[in-house]
């Protein structure tokens, strides 16, 4: 338990000026993370450039806890693409594959139908009652990159909030007491 005493002593020995400096470097880390996220949003055109897979409906390609990199882009969506979409009235985005596309000749209107590779039927049952098709405004992005397991961290942090606070607390303390 030496490190606790060390940490405590370090904190006690610091003067206000040092507290402000360390506080600012903490702020710098937070704002840098925000900047990277916002830049990714700008480049990919997606409101959420990285998503965690939450269900097994795309197994065996994607499992719960894997992460996907999204890109929205300008090109219209085509069948076979894996998209992440929001359904009206549900907060949780869904990762599924487009199996039907009907693109109108006039105006920029596309009707799409999706299905999970691991699901038996298509997604019309998941949409709002009366909603037969997905349109561009429902689409958050198309999956273009994949990394397994990494997203498990956020799932654990969401399921057990105390893990999140513990992690934030420890990281904050480390930054405050770090000597540069």
């Amino acid at each position: 338990m030496d490190w606790i005493r060390d940490t405590f002593n370090t904190l006690r020995a610091m003067n206000p000026r040092e507290y402000i400096t360390q506080g600012m470097s903490l702020g710098l880390i937070v704002t840098s993370a925000l900047m990277i996220w916002k830049t990714l949003m700008l480049v990919t055109g997606s409101e959420s450039p990285v998503v965690v897979v939450l269900s097994g409906s795309m197994e065996p390609a994607f499992y719960r806890g894997d992460i996907l990199f999204l890109n929205l882009g300008k090109e219209p969506i085509r069948t076979g693409e894996v998209v992440v979409f929001n359904v009206d009235g549900r907060d949780i985005p869904i990762v599924h594959r487009v199996i039907k596309v009907h693109e109108r000749a006039s105006q920029n209107h596309i009707d799409m139908l999706t299905k999970g590779d691991n699901n038996y039927g298509h997604d019309r049952v998941l949409y709002m009652p009366g909603q037969d098709w997905l349109n561009m405004e429902h689409i958050m992005g198309r999956a273009c990159g994949y990394v397994p397991y990494v997203g498990m961290v956020t799932i654990i942090m969401n399921d057990y909030p105390f893990v999140k606070y513990l992690l934030i607390g420890v990281l904050g303390l480390l930054v405050l007491t770090s000597k540069d």
């Binding site: 390609a61 069948t79 076979g80 273009c144």
Partner: protein, 122 residues
């Protein structure tokens, strides 16, 4: 959901060898067959008719004398009769880690029959 639509049933013969699509970083290949056609209201209609997940290179040689259509081939209206359409075989290569990409090959110049066939109440 579509009371006043028409539907097509195709007889598709598929002969594909996707062994070369596999590399050390390939987790699976998602193979699918789709029909593409144009109507007066829609500049593009794409309907996936069949798909399969291939997880191993040794299973990547596909020979189907008669593909069992997995999804209905229906139009948003009643525009399938005497309609020209293309068929595309596409494969989405899904990695163990990294980038997803799709390759495809299109076969052009198919045409729907000029007359409806009665297949009973179905």
């Amino acid at each position: 959901m579509c009371g006043r639509c028409v539907q097509a049933k195709l007889h598709i013969v598929l002969d594909a060898d996707l062994k070369s699509a596999f590399s050390w970083n390939t987790k699976q290949v998602f193979l699918f067959v789709l029909a593409e056609y144009q109507t007066e209201t829609n500049q593009l209609n794409q309907v996936v008719l069949w798909d399969a997940i291939i997880q191993q290179q040794k299973d990547a040689k596909i020979r189907k004398k008669k593909l069992r259509q997995k999804y209905t081939f229906d139009d948003q209206g009643r525009n399938l009769r005497d309609r020209a359409f293309n068929l595309t075989v596409a494969w989405n290569v899904m990695p163990k880690v990294g980038r997803l990409f799709t390759r495809s090959q299109t076969f052009v110049g198919f045409n729907m029959p000029a007359n409806y066939t009665n297949i009973g109440r179905g």
